[in-house]
Amino acid sequence: MPVTWKDSVTEIAGSKMHLSRAGSGKTVLVLHHDIGTADRLPFYDSLAEQFDVIVPHHPGWGKSQRPEWIRHPRDIAAMHTWLLADLGVENVNLVGLGFGGWIAAEMVSQSPRTYRRLSLVAPMGIKPPEGDIADQAIVSYLDYPKAGFHSQDAFASVYGEADTDQLEQWDVCREMCFRTAWKPYMYSQTLPHLLGGVRTPAQVIWGDDDQIVPISAGHAYTKALRNATMTTVAECGHFAEMEQPAKVAKLVIDFINAA
């Protein structure tokens, strides 16, 4: 079934936020990575074939306007919560990808009974008990996204040569990461203590070759959440939904459809 996406702009906290939406059924909010997102991805299409899927650009990323004042992913979480309220959707399923997973975790920690299902795909946000989250500040705009793929062919199939527009976008994304997650870099010291109250059933998905966020953070998330399971995806890097879209989509769809 072909999926028809509709783009719109809505004002949240004084800033214009861009979002794409497609499909019908249960509402799924997808929160994208630190490197932004393509407008369309096979993973998004797979979800939209079954659900009402909302993919906003984080404030300051992609086509969303930058609020000069934002300082933390928790601010982004609050803006997405505001967005859901304006859209009038309830019982929303959250799918957080990498950095977007951190934002999703902030949303559920602030509102432990509000969301229906939580899918975290290699989320940042917790200090990994072993290893460190890769520092994008010291590598090039190409090397960082490439490091997030197990297979460079998979990178090429998504980004091709990565033209100058894409490089510029990655620089903007990187600046937003710095503005919101500079120190401590890409994690919160308080979030792990707040996850225990979350009632929303959660799944934690991790690529078995994630060079960006150590898998130990996945185990920590699974332990901190009171109702979570963890699954690893073979031959898969950090940008799992781009590298293994079919596998990750199936895991997420099955989880949302369960119960």
Binding site: A137, I138, L142, E168, D171, V172, F178, R179, W182, K183
Partner: protein, 413 residues
């Protein structure tokens, strides 16, 4: 004219081959290659060089700081400024500069500088800089807020130096509830602040709005003229006429008794593989958010190896030809420096005289020839050209102390 001595304080004892093998000589190039024994010797030699420069007639000693790299051993410029405050008698101690965004407590910065000013009997010029990109990464300071932090820290320090405490300071990046340091500068209203730079248009404009002298750091002649033109235009908007007292120029100059030896030693200016700050990844120098957004598109292409360095990579011969490096006998150097000051008209001149592996004996000979033979002639020529430094011109320390403004349009109060 104010003519001051400068060296990067090169950590010349490091093994250059290790840097080439690693592919970088900055930021992440391991400090396991740092030799503390050699560095201890070098620190003390450089201190001797400064004192010699004063003895030979230098007007000032210019200091700076950098981090995580062998091209500059000064990790904290206020340390050497403190030492010079006690060990020299006459020279101005010119810090170009303290990287303000790196400091989390500008009150402490204001205190340290005030102490140096008092101990030196009012000889401090506390210049301020944003700090290069990799300095932010070395210090763990957010590059995206670099300019905001620079301006806010400056404003707090200026307030500390001009308004009695206690007061509260509630800024965006700095919040202090009991600002009341018991150390304030000797020089009133406050010590002259100079701002050095190479690239950024925003810094030139801001500096002109403060009426602080802008020191162009070894820029090419044409670029230097463009900087001074932009400064002058901004000055006019602020209601004053910029003159030589508003401009400084740092240039690499090496003098020896023979031209051959001078040129041989001047090649050491290229010792970090021709790059001022050594080999480094472009994103270290320009972390996202650090640079002007207008430069974003060109930079991402350079940073991914798809475009050449927009600043170019000039050979030693090209830099000699363009007078970015001047080397020769005193007579040869005098002629070139006269031509340079005629064409750029600075009231302040920094002489970056020694770099890399120039021997201690050759450094000392260079300093003697420079300040005994070259500088007096250049200064005499500068006087004929009307090139006054800020003290000779009795320039206001800041725009707010101006008595000659024709308009208040852009007064940066």
């Amino acid at each position: 004219m104010h003519m001051m001595y400068f060296t990067e304080q090169p950590m010349s004892a490091y093994d250059a081959q290790k840097g080439l093998d690693y592919g970088a000589t900055a930021l992440t190039f391991s400090n396991s290659h740092f030799d503390s024994v050699a560095a201890s010797r070098l620190y003390n030699e450089y201190l001797e060089d400064y004192i010699l420069a004063e003895d030979c007639g230098a007007d000032g000693i210019m200091l700076n700081e950098h981090h995580n790299a062998p091209f500059c051993m000064q990790a904290k410029t206020n340390i050497f400024a403190s030492i010079l405050a006690a060990t020299t008698k006459r020279v101005k101690i010119v810090i170009l500069g303290n990287p303000l965004p790196l400091c989390d407590n500008p009150i402490r910065m204001a205190e340290e500088l005030a102490m140096i000013d008092m101990i030196s009997n009012g000889r401090l010029v506390p210049g301020f800089v944003r700090g290069g990109g990799q300095e932010q990464l070395a210090a763990g300071v957010n590059p995206a807020f670099n300019r905001e932090r620079f301006i806010e820290a400056h404003d707090l320090i200026q307030k500390i130096w001009t308004q009695p405490g206690p007061f509260r300071f509630e800024g965006t990046h700095y919040q202090h509830r009991t600002v009341n340091p018991w150390a304030v500068p000797l020089q009133k209203p406050y010590p002259r602040v100079w701002v050095p730079g190479v690239l950024s248009r925003e810094t030139i404009v801001w500096t002109a709005q403060q009426r602080y002298p802008y020191i162009a750091l070894n820029t090419a002649i044409d670029h230097t003229k463009e900087i001074f033109k932009l400064y002058s235009e901004t000055a006019a908007d602020c209601g004053y006429v910029a003159g030589p007292e508003n401009f400084g120029y740092l240039i690499r100059v090496h003098v020896q008794d023979t031209e051959e030896k001078a040129i041989q030693n001047a090649r050491q200016f290229m010792w970090m593989q021709g790059e001022f700050t050594g080999l480094a990844h472009p994103v270290w120098a320009n972390p996202s958010g650090y640079f002007s957004p207008s430069g974003r598109r060109g930079f991402v292409q350079f940073a991914t190896g798809r475009a050449k360095n927009p600043r170019g990579a000039m050979t030693f011969e090209e830099q000699m030809e363009s007078t970015m490096i001047v080397a020769g006998t005193p007579k040869q150097v005098v002629e070139k420096l006269k031509w340079i000051i005629e064409n750029t008209r600075p009231g302040i001149m920094g002489i970056w005289a020694n770099d890399g592996n120039v021997s201690a004996a050759d450094r000392k000979r260079c300093i003697e020839l420079l300040f005994k033979e070259v500088v007096p002639e250049v200064k005499a020529h500068g006087a004929k050209l009307g090139l006054k430094d800020p003290w000779e011109a009795n320039a206001p320390v800041h725009l707010r102390y101006s008595t000659d403004l024709t308009t208040r349009k852009a007064a940066a109060e």
